[in-house]
Symmetry: C2
Subunit: 212 residues, 2 copies
DNA sequence: ATGCCAAGTGCCACTGAGTGCCAGTTTGGT
DNA sequence: ACCAAACTGGCACTCAGTGGCACTTGGCAT
């Protein structure tokens, strides 16, 4: 997690710092020397964490690489119950919640998030792990929706479709954001939020697209 | 590939037979003894293929596990140019093409496809690989669409969204198909096609879903 | 038929991710 | 100060996947 230190017990702060150190070491290294050229062993050396602990802190190398981006989804999942208490079109609700979560990420988040996004576009293994996290998000939403709208036939499929659109919108926005010139130094979360809103606003009409 | 032998050169038929033997050995073994309990070495032993060749035939263990399902997407991608020559709503065109591809899979396909689908629901690593293949499909469609509809602003996002919906529809259909009681012996591709049509027909309305 | 060549193959050693185990060390509560 | 539970490090291990290289073999031109 990209958690700012200072909260929780001593122990959990130590863990947060170790994680942070690993992410901070890893993402630039991945970018400069290539994802597979950087080994977990080397990273553990650098960050002074044992390999064993590494795998306690992260689900794997891909999870590490995706930490900044995954944190967004994880936070959104954690807030799901609150989010779904709102009313209105599900797609809009999810879109606004996504923007809200991005806005509350800790300062400095964008620097690492850009690297994470690029990596995801470059390295299939990382991309796949990202898709899996989004799939987990979908499952959560589907579960929550079928619980809230019991009996309404087709609610499950609807939830699935809406989540798929939300994920696609998010991916498109992040992709555009990350590929802006000079993004590694100047990309702001404000820009990302704008792109997200754009994608989500355009999505409903997108289904209409026809071949001539 | 789930290719029926008899076509191509002697050499390519040998390869096809080896692949087939591996798939035929692997999927039941994965199902009975668990995905990670079955090692690639053991499979190579059983199918009398060297490990080196295994990795020439498949992109990896996950690719092997997903062969029946992936073949559908690969075939669809191969036919993309023909498919996109049709006119009408993109989502419908893709849906019909998907059904058509399923219908032309070789006989006996469903038996292995069911196993593949279950595995994908059980084993995250397999699921992730499947998502990646779908992502590849999306990229192909997006490429083809932006080439065919140049200048139309937002075509890329639209294509992305439609593909996301198509993939979600496919997943929902396969999921329902695979979990029917007794699917391992009685699931027919006719049933799958019906489910696919259902999902695709219901998808456009799904975006409207609202929270109360 | 023959013989050449590139594509395909088997084997072996190697790397690197990820896990099981277990004995030691914090740390929070009492 | 003490204890149980949570956490840690280190080590050996498994297994997926790759590189390298000598060897076979199917396809083809002659």
């Amino acid at each position: 997690m990209t958690t700012q230190p200072g909260s929780g017990t001593l122990r959990s702060r130590r863990i947060a710092r170790s994680r942070q150190r690993l992410v901070e070491t890893a993402l630039p290294a991945f970018t400069e020397r290539g994802y597979e050229a950087v080994t977990v062993d080397w990273l553990c050396d650098q960050a002074e964490v044992s390999k064993r602990s590494f795998f306690r802190y992260f689900d794997g190398k891909e999870d590490l690489a995706l930490t900044p981006l995954n944190d967004v989804w994880r936070l959104l999942i954690a807030d799901l119950d609150t989010v779904l208490d709102r009313s209105g079109p599900l797609l809009e609700v999810l879109g606004e919640a996504l923007v809200a979560v991005v806005e509350q990420m800790p300062p400095g988040w964008e620097r690492l998030a850009v690297l994470s996004a690029r990596l995801s576009g470059t390295t299939p293994a990382v991309d796949a792990a990202g898709l899996l996290v989004c799939e987990g998000f979908t499952d959560q939403v589907v579960g929550a929706i079928t619980q809230r709208l019991p009996g309404s036939s087709g609610a499950e499929l609807s939830a699935r479709v809406v989540c798929a659109v939300a994920v696609a919108g998010h991916r498109a926005a992040v992709d555009a954001w990350q590929s802006e010139p000079g993004a590694e130094t100047t990309a702001t979360r404000g820009e990302l939020c704008a792109l997200l809103r754009e994608s989500f606003a355009a999505a409903p009409a997108a289904l209409e697209i026809r071949l001539p």
